[in-house]
């Protein structure tokens, strides 16, 4: 330990993080902060893959990965955490192996489960920040509500074909939440999923990388995060647009007279079929 109580960087860490250490906005204090940070990624798929890869490479000390699925050949076109040899493995295991190979400093915690209103608060609680890279509305509303109740920042990203959206929702900032933007989900079937409509393989790489960028900014408290803004990316004309988000006084969660005081049945709320939960947590690294 050094005089100020911090463990000094090892020679390997000085070499690994050299390009961060010379950035005034990161530096030794920032890098140490990243090493002491923990981030939960909801989904080890299209968005979670690039986000997790960059966060691991950046030295975020603990990464939790929530996913119940196994790697399928149809994932490999965009889910760059996984390779051909990983087909059939649990995504959390494949992700953990990849992240550990990139940076052994990182502790990866596998949550092989369907996150739901019974387990979300317990799963989210140990982490500093939540990344929403899910693929369905029930989990998006659940992630928003659970992060709000736990007062944790939520980095939101969503993709469709050639387009993406992302935003940071920070309950402490009082700048609104996902429900302020979309109080209720679309009617079932009104918005096709990527499985139904397709997705351009590199698109989640762009949005997921920006989610990692925003996550690191929020952890380091640098720059101007996308709080109170929504970024819209349109790949076909390569345009980025930022629009203003406002807290909605009528928001059922964070409005003036909230009606949502705890986690609810999100499958019923979104008109989606219920999913049976499974439980397994594995720590790697």
């Amino acid at each position: 330990m050094s005089e100020n109580g911090f463990r000094p960087f090892t020679p390997d860490q000085v070499s690994r993080y050299a390009r961060h250490l010379i950035l005034p906005e990161v530096g030794g204090a920032g890098q140490r902060k990243l090493l002491n940070s923990s981030v939960l990624l909801l989904g080890a798929g299209g968005l979670g893959s690039p986000a997790a890869l960059y966060l691991a490479a950046a030295g975020v000390g603990t990464l939790g990965i929530v996913d119940f699925d196994e790697v399928d050949a149809s994932n490999l076109q965009r889910q760059i955490l996984h390779g051909t040899a990983d087909v059939g493995k649990p995504k959390t295991q494949s992700a953990a192996e990849t992240l550990q190979s990139i940076n052994p400093d990182v502790k990866v915690i596998e949550h092989r489960l369907h996150v739901n209103s019974e387990n979300a608060l317990q799963v989210f609680e140990p982490y500093d920040l939540i990344i929403d890279g899910t693929d369905n509305f029930p989990t998006r509303y659940l992630a928003n509500d659970a992060a709000f109740f736990l007062k944790k920042p939520l980095v939101h990203g969503a993709i469709y074909r050639f387009e993406g959206q992302m935003a940071d929702f920070t309950p402490a900032a009082g700048t609104g939440c996902y429900r302020c933007l979309f109080a209720t989900p679309p009617p079932p079937g009104a918005v096709p999923s990527c499985a139904e409509a397709g997705v351009f393989g590199v698109l989640p790489g762009i949005i997921g990388s920006m989610m990692a960028f925003e996550t690191i900014k929020l952890l380091l408290e640098i720059g101007e995060p996308l709080i109170g803004k929504l970024l819209i990316f349109e790949g076909m004309d390569m345009s980025f647009r930022k629009v203003n988000l406002r807290r909605n006084a009528r928001c059922p969660l964070c409005g003036d007279e909230p009606t949502v005081h705890g986690l609810i049945d999100y499958e019923a709320f979104c008109g989606a079929p219920a999913v049976e939960p499974s439980e397994a947590t594995v720590q790697v690294g």
Partner: protein, 92 residues
Amino acid sequence: MTSIELRLPSMLASAAGGSTRIRVTGETARQALDDAFARHPLLRTHLLDEEGHVREHVHLFLNEDDIRERLAAELHEGDQLVVLQQMSGGRS
């Protein structure tokens, strides 16, 4: 009349003749939308409910600002009216 660009997400292109960018005219956002609906009636069904209000999962931005509850917003040359629709993809 002011001519502006209406930008649609690709999931609504099929309701607008296959295009995600439409030139529309009007002095207000409501008039510009009505101009688009006159040529693409199906678009109205996607954006507005039976009472003429913007659907819950749709937002309308005039440049950077959300105007879903103030469609009387005045238009100026060079403005863009942007339709934002909720999307869920990311993991699968």
